[in-house]
Symmetry: C2
DNA sequence: TATGAAATCAGGGGGCT
DNA sequence: AGCCCCCTGATTTCATA
């Protein structure tokens, strides 16, 4: 089932990462691989599901999502519990990442929000999920490294994002 | 300084997220906003730094990076420490995200690796960074939700990724 | 599968509203 | 700012090895 990428595939993927663009032309220029071959390989990578979608990277501070919350969640144990709870966590507005872990916590989630009120709301939301026992949250003072693409927008409603814009307009960040 | 996105900008961004493509044409079709206006708005979003780069989303399991490690790191306190340590953490091979937090830990990092050996190596690496006191790591059994783009490749060497491919070839995943 | 050449189509710019 | 229209050039297809 493994796609088994060879050196050429990896070269192409790195070229995309380095030049920050998936353009056939750019890949061709930096790797020397003929344009149509690049095209051919890219097609295979997409078919194999290695590359999924082509989306822009997004600056979430600029979107007004300036607060990063990292929460550890402990949940009741039972048949199919993780799956259901994990799924529900993923649906909570603002949650960008959900990891199911082993050890003393069951889930670790990372959320991006625009206000203190949102944080309270977030915690309220996941504590109200059936099976969630308790949670412990931390703020990230700063995000030193993280890549996120536009698809994360689907974690929010348009309304929230518009509110977030208004908020950052009036808070002197102008 | 805030870019102040209006409803139209948000609509365009959501269109990209929903259709999983940043194509001017696709955005035009789904929003009804004229092509050249879409073009104009996209340009502004790029100029403002809201949209950074256009990169593919990547399936890291398929790349052979099947292990997710989440580590909490405690570091010595001092002038400019976080900045330096955070930067060094970001440079460790395999680390995809670095958050600087408040509370009982100083950094939370998330790494993607391909083998047990890599995990040991990873922990060795960040514990050897000057100023790092101790760390506690968890494995994610599964990643329920997460978006990542090709730029994450820069967290690895080509060699590692090729090795990862070999490993998944011979482990019966074929 | 890989490639060169040819055809197609989307992206980007000029200028008017 | 918004938008129509045209042109350029990148993407994709096709035929061949």
């Amino acid at each position: 089932m493994s796609p088994t990428l060879d050196k050429r595939d990896i070269d192409i993927l790195f070229a995309i990462a380095e030049q920050q663009t998936p353009s056939t032309e750019a890949i061709h220029q930096s790797t020397g691989i003929p344009k149509s071959t690049v095209h051919y390989r890219l097609q295979s990578l997409k078919d194999d599901g290695v590359l999924t979608n082509d989306l822009y990277e997004l600056d979430r501070e600029k979107l007004g999502l300036e607060i990063t919350v990292i929460s550890e969640i402990r949940a009741e144990y039972g048949e199919g519990y993780h799956e259901r709870i994990g799924k529900q966590l993923g649906e909570v507005e603002g949650i960008n990442q959900v990891y199911f872990t082993m050890g003393d916590t069951d889930f670790i989630i990372i959320a991006r929000l625009s206000s203190r009120d949102d944080v309270e709301e977030l915690i309220g939301k996941f504590e109200s999920i059936d099976g969630v026992e308790r949670s412990s949250s931390k703020f990230a003072i700063s995000t030193i490294k993280e890549n996120v693409s536009v698809s994360n927008l689907q974690d929010y409603t348009k309304e929230k994002l518009l509110d977030a814009q208004d908020a950052s307009d009036s808070d002197g960040t102008e």
